[in-house]
Amino acid sequence: MKKELQTVFYRNLWKENPVIRQILGICSALAVTNLAVNSLVMGLGLMFVTALSSFTISLLRNYIPQRIRMIVQTLIIAAYVIVVDIFLKANLPEISKALGPYVGLIITNCIIMGRAEAFAQKNPPVLSLFDGLFAGLGYTIILLGVALIRELLGFGSVFGYSLNMVNFTPWTIMVMPPGAFFMIAIFIWISSNMMSKRTEKAKLKKQEAK
């Protein structure tokens, strides 16, 4: 179990990171990453929904009829998203107001359905729970990374606190949607580079061993 957890962790956070390796959930990654706070809340919401929907789908995996499995998945995901939405409205009205429609749009995030189809369908509940949680974490980390850079360059602030940099001209482009495209592309570029270097090294080692 421990080893399986490690594999799941490594796979979701790096090797098959939903955003930069599988290019999933890009829509929301572009939309909410101009402020770090929005990205954090969005990420936490997604972690909660992915973990619990993976858990539930895995629990029901032997009972869900194949031909309607996607309808059932969507229903479960939607239910959890509505819970998150109601919870935010009741307990954190300010943040709920700031995120506006994005909470509801968690339903359409491909990562959740992706984990449900690719993992929770075939694996036990607890492992699926962690798989969902780590997939959400992988998404959150990338979003926060992109958001910190965009917010810093676009507004000169970090988590809403202005750094009061002297002679600093905000890069408006970073706050606009193209800024997110640039940043995510750079992240993907760096990760692909590191990934291919690692596989090359592994190849060389194999050849030397021969």
């Binding site: 009972y63 229903l75 819970v83 919870f87 009741a90 429609p101």
Partner: protein, 190 residues
């Protein structure tokens, strides 16, 4: 695993029933709290529009002197002073922004000469761009602006938001429309 039609239908029915029940109960538990939150947002917006400073725990006390009036498409709050003179108005507005409907209040002095402030109760503009109309620096610009010279425009001490031209324009249009219609109507009634 092959399963019959009846099983599929019964299964879907049960799953839908269970989750609907869960959602309905969660909604019932938090309903009153959400309503209180929404009313609080409304009340705070009215006070902000009238540019009254307040503590969170004295809001209800302040509302003892504020009366809500609804007349067809004119909705406003009026603050009366000690001698029953209306001192300030907060007029409700609703208009389209870039993506969403903007709702909120603009405050007008009892003599209908200046704006006291503006606040939004709901907006779904792009967070970080159009969504910045909620920020204090943007709203404070409308404080004390004379409304004898219409239409109001950007420049002359009121800045639009960089990167959110369309939302900024919509806000200005909504303010002008509200002054031209609701506020004028209110003035004529007096």
């Amino acid at each position: 695993m092959k399963k019959g039609y009846l099983y599929t239908i019964v299964f879907m029915f049960i799953v839908a029933l269970v989750f609907t029940t869960v959602l309905a109960s969660v909604n019932a538990i938090f309903k009153s709290r959400i309503l209180t939150n929404e009313q609080l947002i409304e009340k705070k917006a009215v006070l902000n529009a009238m540019s009254i400073t307040y503590n969170d725990n004295e809001i209800d006390k302040l509302f003892a002197n504020i009366e809500e009036v609804k007349k067809d498409n004119l909705v406003y709050y009026a603050l009366t002073d000690g001698s029953n003179q209306i001192e300030k108005y907060a007029v409700y507005f609703e208009g389209s922004g870039l993506w969403s409907t903007l709702t909120g209040y603009i405050g007008v002095g009892g003599n209908f000469k200046t704006l006291l402030g503006i606040d939004f109760t709901s907006q779904n503009e792009t967070p970080g761009l159009g969504g910045r109309i909620e920020e204090e620096w943007f709203k404070v610009q409308f404080k004390g602006v004379s409304i004898s010279d219409l239409p109001l425009t950007y420049g002359n001490g009121i800045d639009a938001i960089t990167g959110a031209t369309l939302t900024s324009k919509s806000v200005m249009k909504i303010i002008n429309d509200t002054i031209n219609n609701q506020v004028k109507e209110l003035e004529a009634m007096k």
